[in-house]
């Protein structure tokens, strides 16, 4: 079977933008919430809100004041305000100034002095690690829970390494309500298949399989409901956790059932480079493909929540070779560790910062150029994009380098570099973004206040 016979090109409307196809409108309109009273809060009247979080490891190049590279290659601009000047590190984003803000002075209070290679698992939670691994729900999942049911996938966690990684070397940013790491997908083909390829088993078989899953859950939970009264308090807690899990799965199956008869959007696989790998030759293609897939997932309203970790915080993982793709001769961890040692080390590292800014810029540009099929404005106007890292320099847990973009229709105001002098809790920012996304809450983790400077 050839590709073109499987995805008939005549059914795929070209939008006129390179690398992108519009899904059939029928599938977009048939979102189940029109039929599902449980999610009437999310009817088409309210424009969709999307949340994309991108994490890169190891901090950024921050040559010390007085160093020859300080002026041009310090990641942070040298003075705050709306007339700030981007250094080379951020310069690729210069065309997008009015769509983004640069932030400095944020960090998680719990993680300021205790920085290990595990920080990406707490980047979006801020949990204290001084007594060993502990975690709570990440901010993207708070939002995903609120809009659960609105899209086929409540969230799509991605990372270059894939899976959950270990607790010491996490390979995902998303954490569920129980503090467990949610596995991320890494292979472009696998991501495409999950988002857009129709399950070959057909609707009847899938519906049967959902029915079976439900009977199985019924069986294991009904055994327990009768036993509860004979248990001590602690044991009852364990049973409750198990029963809650079965109920949550039941709910997910119900959701899957609702989506069963709604076809996945048709997307031309020829638009993506599935051979791309995070290597020297193909690394740039790999990152572009990942961003293309994120863009398409949002455009087709397959999900509204995406997290993406470009690489793990150590020398081993897959994403660490991406600097080779930028034409550099060291991997990411080495780049950051040898900046002060070598002549030109800061600049060399900053070139990778610049390379990452280029990838971000391509993504944001495309988002800004795509009209939102479900609301006014561009896709970017209705999407909050947070880009950053949980350390400034390697192993320094303060002053996270952050770019906040998009979300103009959601009350975010852009165009400035905001410098907060005394470290503010990063959760203040996450709380502010959650509120902009429509989550009704006045706290997130150890947040203290909202960040009003970024609000319109």
């Amino acid at each position: 079977m050839t590709q073109s016979s499987r995805y008939p090109r005549r059914d795929v409307l070209q939008l006129g933008l390179a690398g992108m196809a519009l899904p059939s409108f029928a599938s977009l309109r048939a979102a189940p919430n029109t039929a599902n009273t449980a999610s009437t809060a999310l009817t088409t009247k309210k424009p969709p809100v999307r949340l994309v979080t991108i994490f890169f490891p190891n901090g950024v190049s921050l040559p010390p004041d007085g160093h020859e590279s300080f002026q041009d290659w310090n990641w942070f601009p040298h003075s705050p305000g709306s007339d700030y000047v981007m250094t080379n590190s951020l310069n690729p984003l210069s065309n997008l100034r009015s769509d983004l803000s640069i932030l400095s002075g944020f960090s998680h209070p719990n993680l300021r002095s205790n920085i290990t290679h595990s920080c990406s698992a707490q980047f979006l939670t801020g949990e204290d690690q001084s007594k060993g691994y502990r975690n709570s729900i990440s901010y993207d999942q708070v939002f995903a829970e609120m809009i659960d049911g609105a899209t086929r996938f409540s969230s799509v966690p991605l990372s270059t390494a894939g899976g959950t990684g270990s607790l010491g070397r996490p390979a995902t940013l998303s954490v569920n309500r129980d503090g467990a790491l949610i596995p991320a997908m890494s292979d472009p083909q696998q991501i495409f298949n999950r988002l857009f390829v129709v399950d070959s088993r057909g609707v009847t078989a899938r519906s049967r399989s959902i029915a079976r899953d439900r009977s199985i859950l019924d069986q294991v939970s009904s055994r327990l409901s009768g036993l509860k009264n004979s248990l001590g308090t602690e044991d009852r807690g364990h049973l409750d956790s198990y029963l809650t899990a079965t109920r949550t799965l039941e709910k997910q199956l119900g959701r899957a059932n609702e989506w069963l008869n709604i076809p996945k959007p048709e997307v031309d696989p020829g638009l993506f480079d599935f051979d791309a790998q995070p290597t020297r030759e193909l690394g740039t293609n790999y990152m572009r493909t990942m961003f293309d897939l994120i863009h398409m997932a949002l455009l087709t309203d397959s999900t509204r929540v995406v997290t993406y970790q470009t690489a793990m915080e150590n020398a081993g993982g897959r994403g660490n070779k991406l600097p080779y793709a930028a034409g550099l001769s060291l991997h990411h961890h080495q780049l950051s560790h040898s900046a002060a040692r070598d002549n030109g080390g800061w600049e060399r590292w900053a070139k990778y910062d610049q390379y990452l800014s280029e990838r971000l810029s391509e993504f944001l540009t495309k988002m800004a150029a795509t009209p939102d099929p479900l609301a006014d404005g561009s896709l970017l106007d209705n999407t909050i994009v947070l880009y950053g890292c949980g350390t400034s320099k390697t192993h320094v847990g303060k002053n996270y380098p952050l770019v906040l973009a998009g979300g103009k229709n959601l009350g975010l105001k852009h165009g400035s570099f905001h410098r907060f002098e005394n470290e503010r809790p990063f959760n203040d920012l996450l709380l502010t973004l959650l509120q902009r996304a429509g989550v009704k809450t006045d706290s997130f983790g150890d947040s203290e206040a909202t960040v009003d400077q970024i609000l319109a």
Binding site: T2, Q3, T116, H117, S130, K131, G132, N135, G163, T164, S166, L167, P170, N176, D178, G179, A180, L181, D187, Q189, Q190, N193, R194, V197, S200, R208, A211, R212, S215, I216, Q219, V220, L224, L227, S230, L231, G232, E234, D235, H238, S241, Y242, A245, T246, T248, L249, Q252, P269, F274, T279, R280, A315, Y324, S329, H331, Q334, H337, S338, A340, R341
Partner: protein
């Protein structure tokens, strides 16, 4: 009158409260509970004193040390509250608090009043804990879950490899009952894993295919660049052909591959070069070979017999052979590395090293949905092929890591591609000559025999067979009977106890439902079997048994003593014998229990326990969190790190399994090292990668946990040693006297002043200690670590310490000063002195610490106030045995607290 008499007795029992018993009696005419008495005492007498004397620093305005009395619970104390009150009591008793210069100071009587109230509250808590003592229902840990599936299906494959990573408890333990819940995500995984296992290992009719054999002569292996997979395939043989070939070659001259394998250099491999990094490029230390199965076996075992010989290095070093199956096309291995083997045989008489690698094939369903673009091998054949990688993983400072163009097939393949390899040939000869001249060892490859055994050699392999013929012969009735039989036996193994008729019938009703909804019997059965593997009696130890079912199983089955024992000592399910004893209520009989514990400790499965306990007690998980900076430690690499961790585990295992004195963990003149570690430690050389017991000469400081690379490295930051981390580790792990967490507002150990950057770490720490906010706590922990300053960040001996300026990264050296004064006033010269002090003066505290930690592991919770008497008596047994760890294990198993029944059992 009677009422107040009881009340009086009660109060007298509360030690120390007699002083104000009179007042209290007045108020308690209605015989309040003890809780109420304590509560009243607190609010009327204790609280005012605390508020007046402590509130300024530990209240709403200021929370020194993270403590505020206005929010501290004074009744119904949790274990956390107990820990806080306990430290308050210690601070009051030792007059550490309130600080000398603080006003107002409490009177001595007031101090005593508070202490007495704390003691009485603790006694009350202890009584409540004892009364409610039970064995908790506990989910299996990821490791236990995997071991259980492996034994159930007789296959050592990584069933649990995709489960989300699981956290450790506050004290570092994976078995903590409170921590092990089931989230929806995990339940989803459990179901997917169960289905795959049932699919792979439950056999419906048919026969198990014969094993297949491959013989590869390494001189015949060719590389064809440009061809997918590259390497030629070994010759498939049936059993007869294999034995014929083996016989034929046994008489003749041994022919080795022209390519011999050289060792690896020390230090990390050159990762800068992608050319070097590509998996399909042969390196000096490594050679690939490919083979194929004639049909795709879903699961089984590859048995590898390598015929090899060695040229020993000039320094006597031996090549170390490692074989690995590469995961290329959907195969999963628990350990793709089949193992390692020191090769010492001479070239005249090669030796055979045998490895077993269980595998299973889980096709990537996603990939199947799309077209495969591979130009070469068609899909099916690719699915059936495996790549064997053979390497010499000995390390030699003179070795060179580079690609080797030899052994390629020059006649075939693509000329353009070949040119690249020819170009490197000249370099390769230079490198090889240099290594030969330096006298590195070399590994000679003769041949490899490979057996592919479907389902593998495990006794449990191929256990689950469904009589499909009988089932379909008389569809309906017969298939239901067959299904019920299979279900019954799986449930018994999975639940680790007898299964009652009600339980079986209930599970069969699910099968019946599936069949009535139109499923075939085999499909319905598979789904029902999978259900068993996600139900709570499988996933949990001490899962509840319904009241109406309890009379039909033995008491010990009900209390699940066998499982609690086996998951403690084997990290896995009980065997037949334990289950039989439990079914007859024989297991808890003291003599039989002692015999079983001793049998279990002799079983190889007990090494899972000794390894896991050693890893968790000593917090070896933290090793992974340290990133050693290659800039400062060029000789360090992952292999050396793995050796270090292996040394620590091997040391603990030797002391447990050889029944030696536990104090040898701290102080010993013998160490377990291999060639590389011996070199790292500066010890007399040993040959090979195998760990061997070696005596430490007097002029070296080694022996005991405190002198081990793993411990010293993980308590560093990858660049510099860290006496604070080291001190905390000793207090937590060896002395069980953990310091309180740092208060939230204290500045960390870093400063921007240039002077500060040039101080040695010891000097920085001393400066840090002068800050009053830090002083009290740091005086307790830093001195312990300072005594270890002669060891650098990767545990090597040093006389000069590296000082790195964090801003400029400028390095300088400062002489090491390891002398220190312990908080109790002892003068300590160096680490040898510290070890001597620990083993002579703190041996009781150390052995109590092991007792506490092993109890935490065994009970799946930290001991609480109610367990203190038990801890004492267990420690007494431990001591009288001459601190044999096996006696500690037995004393724990025989304690009331380990044997406590679950909350739901025996209450009818």
């Amino acid at each position: 009158m009677l009422k107040s008499a009881i009340c009086l007795t009660l109060l007298v029992a509360m030690s120390g409260l007699a002083a104000y018993a009179d007042e209290t009696r007045e108020q308690t005419a209605k015989l309040p509970s003890r809780d109420a008495v304590l509560q009243a005492t607190y609010s009327e007498q204790i609280s005012p004193i605390v508020e007046r004397n402590c509130g300024a620093c530990h209240g709403g305005n200021d929370q020194e040390a993270g403590l505020r009395f206005d929010q501290l619970r004074s009744s119904k104390l949790s274990d956390q509250d107990v820990a806080v009150w306990s430290s308050i009591r210690d601070a009051l008793n030792s007059h550490q608090m309130p600080p000398e210069d603080a006003e107002p100071q409490p009177t001595q009587q007031q101090r005593q009043q508070i202490v007495n109230w704390i003691d009485a509250s603790f006694e009350q808590v202890a009584q409540q804990r004892r009364a409610n003592r039970s064995s908790p229902m506990r989910r299996l840990t990821v490791a236990e879950y995997q071991n259980t599936l492996q034994e159930l299906f007789g296959a050592e494959v990584p069933f649990a490899q995709n489960l989300p990573a699981a956290p450790l408890s506050e004290h570092g333990y994976s078995r903590d009952a409170a921590l092990l819940g089931v989230s929806a995500l995990e339940l989803e995984y459990f179901l997917a894993i169960a289905r795959q296992a049932v699919e792979d290992y439950v056999i419906f009719g048919g026969h198990i295919p014969d094993s297949e054999h491959v013989l590869i002569e390494f001189e015949d292996v060719e590389y064809r660049p440009g061809v997918s997979g590259g390497y030629s395939f070994g010759k498939p043989l049936d059993r007869k052909e294999l034995s014929h070939t083996l016989q034929e070659r046994s008489g003749g001259q041994v022919v080795y591959s022209e390519r011999t394998l050289f060792p690896l250099p020390d230090g990390p491999l050159d990762l800068n070069s992608e050319e070097l990094n590509r998996a399909d490029r042969q390196k000096f230390h490594q050679q690939f070979a490919r083979f194929r199965m004639s049909e795709l076996h879903k699961a089984g075992e590859v048995i590898i017999r390598m015929h090899v010989a060695a040229k020993l290095g000039d320094d006597g070093s031996a090549p170390r052979l490692r074989v690995k199956l590469d995961d290329t096309s959907g195969f999963q291995f628990e350990a793709p590395i089949g193992g390692e083997c020191d090769v010492t045989a001479s070239i005249e008489k090669p030796q055979i090293c045998t490895f077993r690698i269980p595998f299973r094939h889980v096709p990537n369903t996603d990939a199947k949905d799309t077209e495969d673009n591979s130009e070469e091998d068609n899909d099916d054949r690719k699915e059936m092929s495996l790549t064997l990688s053979v390497a010499n993983v000995a390390h030699d400072a003179d070795a060179i890591f580079d690609v080797v163009p030899e052994g390629y097939n020059y006649s075939a393949g693509r000329q353009g591609l070949m040119a690249r390899y020819r170009k490197t040939l000249a370099d390769s000869i230079v490198s090889k000559t240099a290594m030969r001249k330096a006298g590195t060892n070399e590994l000679y490859l003769d041949a490899v025999e490979i057996d592919i055994v479907p389902f593998g050699l495990d006794p449990g392999a191929g256990l689950w067979r469904v009589d499909a013929q009988r089932a379909v012969l008389n569809a309906g009735a017969a298939s239901r009977t067959v299904a019920k039989e299979t279900l019954h036996s799986l449930m018994q193994r999975a639940y680790r106890r007898s299964v009652t008729t009600t339980e079986l019938d209930s599970m069969m009703s699910l099968y019946d439902q599936f069949v009535s909804e139109g499923d075939e019997y085999d499909e319905a059965l598979k789904e029902t079997l999978s259900t068993v593997l996600i139900s709570d009696p499988f996933l949990y130890v001490a899962a509840p048994v319904a009241q109406q079912d309890q009379p039909f199983i033995s008491q010990e089955e009900s209390s699940q003593l066998a499982s609690r024992l086996s998951y403690f000592l084997w990290s896995g399910p009980p065997d037949e014998r334990l289950l039989e004893l439990a079914a007859e209520d024989q297991l808890s009989d003291p003599a039989s229990l002692a015999a079983e514990v001793s049998r279990m400790l002799r079983d190889p499965r007990a090494r899972r326990f000794s390894e896991r306990f050693a890893r968790e007690w000593l917090r070896l998980d933290k090793y992974d969190l340290v990133a050693v900076n290659p800039e400062f430690y060029a000789n360090y690499d992952e292999d050396l790190g793995n050796d270090m961790v292996a040394e620590t585990v091997a040391t603990f295992q030797a002391i447990l399994h050889d029944d030696r004195d536990a104090r040898e963990l701290i102080s010993s003149d013998s160490v377990y090292v291999n060639q590389r570690l011996a070199r790292h430690y500066g010890l007399p050389s040993v040959t090979g990668g195998q760990f061997q017991a070696t005596t430490v000469p007097d002029y070296r400081t080694r022996g005991g946990l405190l002198h081990q690379g793993a411990i010293l490295t993980m308590t560093s930051d990858g660049a510099e040693s860290n006496p604070i981390y080291r001190g905390v580790w000793i207090l937590e792990r060896l002395l069980h006297d953990p310091p309180p967490p740092p208060p939230p507002a204290v500045p960390s150990l870093e400063a921007s002043s240039a002077d500060f950057a040039n101080l040695s770490l010891k000097q920085k720490i001393e400066l840090h200690r002068k800050q009053s906010a830090c002083a009290t706590c740091h005086a307790k922990m830093d001195p312990w670590g300072i005594a270890l300053e002669n060891f650098d960040a990767i545990g090597a001996w040093r006389e000069q310490a590296l000082v790195i300026n964090p801003d400029t990264a400028v390095k300088s050296f400062a002489p090491v000063d390891a002398s220190t004064v312990l908080p109790t006033g002892e003068q300590i010269k160096d680490s040898k002195d510290l070890v001597a002090y620990l083993v002579n003066e703190r041996d009781k505290q150390f052995t109590r610490a092991i007792t506490w930690h092993m109890m935490t592991y065994a009970l799946a919770r930290a001991p609480n106030l109610g367990d203190e008497a038990q801890l004492k008596s267990i420690h007494r047994h431990f001591r009288t045995s001459g601190y044999k760890l096996s006696s500690l294990v037995l004393a724990i198993v025989q304690s009331e607290v380990f044997q406590a029944t679950p909350s739901w059992a025996g209450r009818n």
